[in-house]
């Protein structure tokens, strides 16, 4: 009986020949990621709840401060101090203000075939490099820190066969939002969303990050694109080797819970309406909506490709006086590249506000918080009620192009 990519990764990590969906396996984790959203809680549990706390392998742990960086009040500063001191004490690598955790993990750490736990739901992004990344709570993470292992229920896999190429003006963001709209916010609960087919291989690594990142919004445990030569190249460019024996692809006779076929050339620009990620409609059918703020950034859409799209549209134009256009590059590496390409100059000249590389508006508590009855269009990950500020505010999700155009006109689809 054949295995899917997810099953093969779990089998490798469990040290067994084969697994099948529904099995419970104990796996040795390749990497653990924790950010400032919850690390202080994990540290408290480590210090106060365990009898003889120890760390299984400090070199497998990565701490990243990205949610409230730089700190906006003494409470978050105190949480950061706790995280920093723990990293110092235990020799754990710490990134502070260098970018969004998932972007840094993909730039610096993730390798194909690995299984990675992160204390953040969007850890599913790592499938862009053929890894099995999944979000866990801090208790699960603490167990993994202490033992180096965890139990996993082997998930079923839904296969998405992608064909062809996206048309100009249509982005991976539109594709994944379309898929989430089709299968629903719980359409892939506990399951792996696996992407393959010529359409998947046509996508760049950055594009694949967009796809995998948002899989959790359909409830998925992980999102994985079938790894190929582009993955090998990406890893090499970022100073690490993709091991040939960990470039897992699904067997022909693997079992899938469902198989979907998508013709990428048929995808069109879409928006997700407040307050659900799966309330997706074609942009062309969206009424003209007045906005107060536009946000370009996040682990979903804060990469160089997205900034390029915005700069091309904004060149020689101005952001509307009635819109706050907030841009947050996903990492300092992205920021540098954008500076060198002149993108940041274009955005600044147009009137955008450029934040340090962090979660920014998508996190909704540190920067660019929106007010009562305000409307935001965002490239962030979520549009839940109150996600970006006041409970009465509304968040629409769209592509970098949709967001940038709205920043200029002051309207979605206007």
């Amino acid at each position: 009986m054949g295995m899917t990519i997810g099953e093969k990764i779990i089998a490798r990590a469990a040290g067994v020949e084969s697994v099948k969906a529904g099995d419970i396996q104990t796996v040795t984790l390749d990497r653990l990621m924790s950010n400032d959203g919850t690390t202080h809680l994990t540290v408290d549990m480590y210090n106060n709840k365990l009898k003889n706390p120890r760390i299984a392998d400090k070199d497998k742990i990565v701490f990243i401060m990205d949610h409230n960086v730089p700190a906006e009040n003494p409470k978050t500063a105190e949480a950061h101090k706790k995280m920093r001191n723990f990293a110092k004490e235990h020799g754990i690598v710490l990134y502070e203000g260098q970018g969004v955790c998932h972007q840094i993990m993909l730039e610096d750490w993730v390798c194909p075939g690995e299984i990675i736990f992160g204390a953040d739901s969007h850890t599913c992004s790592y499938g862009a490099l053929g890894a099995f990344g999944t979000g866990v709570g801090c208790t699960d993470l603490l167990y993994a820190i202490v033992t180096g292992k965890s139990w996993v229920l082997v998930p079923e896999t839904i296969r998405f066969n992608l064909h062809g190429k996206l048309r100009e003006g249509v982005y991976p963001r539109d594709l994944i939002l379309t898929i989430i709209g089709d299968i629903g916010a719980n359409g892939a609960n506990y399951k792996v969303m696996e992407f393959a087919g010529d359409g998947a291989h046509n996508l760049s690594i950055n594009d694949r990050m967009v796809l995998c990142n948002l899989c959790v919004e359909a409830g998925a445990k992980s999102g994985i694109v079938e790894p190929d030569e582009k993955v090998v190249e990406y890893c090499a460019e970022h100073g690490r080797e993709a091991k040939a024996d960990q470039m897992f692809v699904s067997d022909d006779d693997a079992t899938f819970a469902a198989v979907y076929e998508y013709d990428l050339s048929k995808i069109e620009p879409v928006v997700a309406r407040p307050d659900f990620v799966d309330d997706v409609i074609p942009l062309s059918e969206c009424p003209k909506v007045k906005i107060d703020q536009a946000f370009l950034g996040s682990c979903n859409n804060g990469r160089i490709d997205d900034l390029r799209v915005a700069a091309n549209i904004l060149k020689g134009k101005k952001v509307s006086d009635e819109v706050r256009f907030i841009v947050a590059p996903a990492s300092n590496a992205v920021y540098l590249e954008a500076l060198e390409e002149g993108i940041m100059d274009t955005l600044m000249e147009a009137g955008a506000q450029i934040m340090n590389a962090n979660c920014s508006v998508c996190w909704g508590s540190c920067q660019g918080v929106i007010g009562e009855n305000e409307v935001l269009i965002s490239t962030g990950t979520r549009n839940f009620k109150g996600r970006a500020g006041h409970p009465s505010s509304k968040v629409y999700l769209g592509s970098a192009e949709t967001v940038t155009k709205a920043a200029i006109t002051g309207y979605i689809n206007g």
Binding site: L339, E340, C366, I370
Partner: protein, 415 residues
């Protein structure tokens, strides 16, 4: 008997043949600045006073900087009230995310040499760097100016500060003004004007002069003004012959004179938690820091980022230390980007934030917690200014800050 510089500005403004310290006069205000923190209060008071129109909307500048980017839901209310005020009273000079007010006022040409300018912020003294008499007022007073275009003032005594010679390479105008505040003490210039004389100031850039005027409020000064020269004319885009009257007469009367030799000055720092607790950087060198901040209306200008980039070029910020850099304005950001400073700073590991007040106003962008230590280039180290009351804030020059970021401990810069 000659006149001091501020007396001359007041005389020109009021048409009086002479004014003397202690006299109460009413001046015609040339320009006012209101920022986002206080616009709701100004708007309320203005209406409460019964005014229906602004004396001259073109003379009013509204700047959002303290709350950009917002960090709390309530912050938005300030923008909404500000935007409504703009619509109701026909304001045209509005900056919603272009940088710190005190950078924008001289940079965008709102504060011109010889003007009398009031702003709802204590650091309004900054524009003395471009030979303005400028000072901070509260929002009630601002509301009355908006209605009348006038303001009563007491003609201040003037303290003359003379510095001659070349500053050592690692000493900046920030060190000079900190030294001066240390000598005058935090209330030493209260109600008074400071006037700067000597060839050290002649050689100083406008940016460096703005830094000095900016911080003079920390000695309590009502204003701190430089004589106008060719640099002033060029920066403010006015003809030198129109502003060459702006200087203090040789035979003017001063209440105090302080004189320094530039060559004797060294890098200094204001130690926690008083702006006048000045020590040589060398005395506190080796003190461990958790964070370094380069920015603010005091030291977030191009030359400040240039010196930071020079020191950080090819180096890394020390482990477990955060370096936060906040350019003072959109124009500063763009110039620093084109000069490559921003890339250098990011390569060194800096956290680069949107132009604005940032950490200095204590609302976002790097708040600290108990027992943490920060070396910062801004203007105040008051208790609780950047977080809890147990945060230790040292104030220093951009050079001192950058050198400290690299070493992780307070360090005397080498240039």
């Amino acid at each position: 008997m000659g006149n001091t510089l501020i007396e001359k500005i007041i005389m020109k403004n009021t048409g009086a043949a002479n004014v003397t310290p202690g006299e109460i006069v009413t001046v015609n205000v040339d320009r006012v600045m209101i920022h986002d923190i206080f616009i709701p209060f100004v708007a309320d008071k203005f209406k409460e006073m019964g005014f229906t129109k602004i004396w001259d909307p073109e003379k009013v500048v509204l700047i959002y900087d303290h709350l950009v980017p917002t960090s709390a839901v309530e912050d938005i209310r300030h923008f909404k009230i500000g935007d409504q005020f703009v619509k109701d009273y026909g304001l045209t000079n509005v900056h919603r995310s272009d940088g710190v007010c005190h950078q924008l006022m001289p940079e965008q040409g709102y504060a011109k040499p010889g003007n009398i300018v009031f702003g709802t912020d204590s650091h309004t003294t900054t524009y003395g760097g471009v030979s303005c008499f400028s000072s901070g007022v509260g929002y009630t007073e601002m509301a009355s100016i908006l209605g009348t275009g006038e303001m009563w003032i007491r003609v201040p005594e003037t303290i003359k500060v003379i510095v001659n010679g070349d500053l050592p390479a690692n000493v900046t105008s920030k060190d000079v003004i900190l030294r001066l505040i240390g000598d005058l003490r935090a209330d030493g210039a209260t109600y008074k004007c400071i006037e700067f004389h000597g060839d050290t100031f002649d050689k100083m850039s406008i940016s460096s002069r703005l830094t000095m005027s900016n911080m003079s409020i920390e000695a309590g000064a009502k204003a701190a003004i430089f004589a106008a020269d060719a640099k002033t004319a060029e920066y403010s885009k006015v003809a030198l012959e129109d502003i060459d009257w702006i200087y203090g007469d040789d035979d003017a009367s001063y209440c105090q004179v302080l004189e320094y030799n530039a060559a004797d000055l060294v890098p200094v720092t204001a130690c926690p938690s008083q702006v006048d607790k000045i020590k040589d950087v060398a005395e506190v060198a080796g003190t461990k820091v958790d964070q370094v901040f380069i920015g603010s209306c005091t030291n977030g200008r191009l030359e400040d980022l240039a010196v930071a980039a020079k020191i950080l070029e090819g180096k890394k910020v020390a482990p477990f230390v955060k370096l936060i850099v906040t350019p003072a304005s959109r124009e500063v950001y763009l110039a620093a980007s084109k000069a490559g400073y921003l890339s250098t700073l990011i390569k060194a590991g800096a956290i680069l934030t949107q132009p604005g007040c940032g950490l200095c106003c204590g609302r976002a962008c790097g708040i600290l917690s108990d027992n943490e230590v920060v070396m910062a280039t801004n203007n105040r180290n008051f208790l609780g200014r950047m977080g809890t009351s147990k945060v230790q804030i040292y104030l220093g020059s951009p050079a001192t800050a950058a050198a400290t970021a690299v070493a992780g401990v307070i360090t005397v810069p080498e240039m």
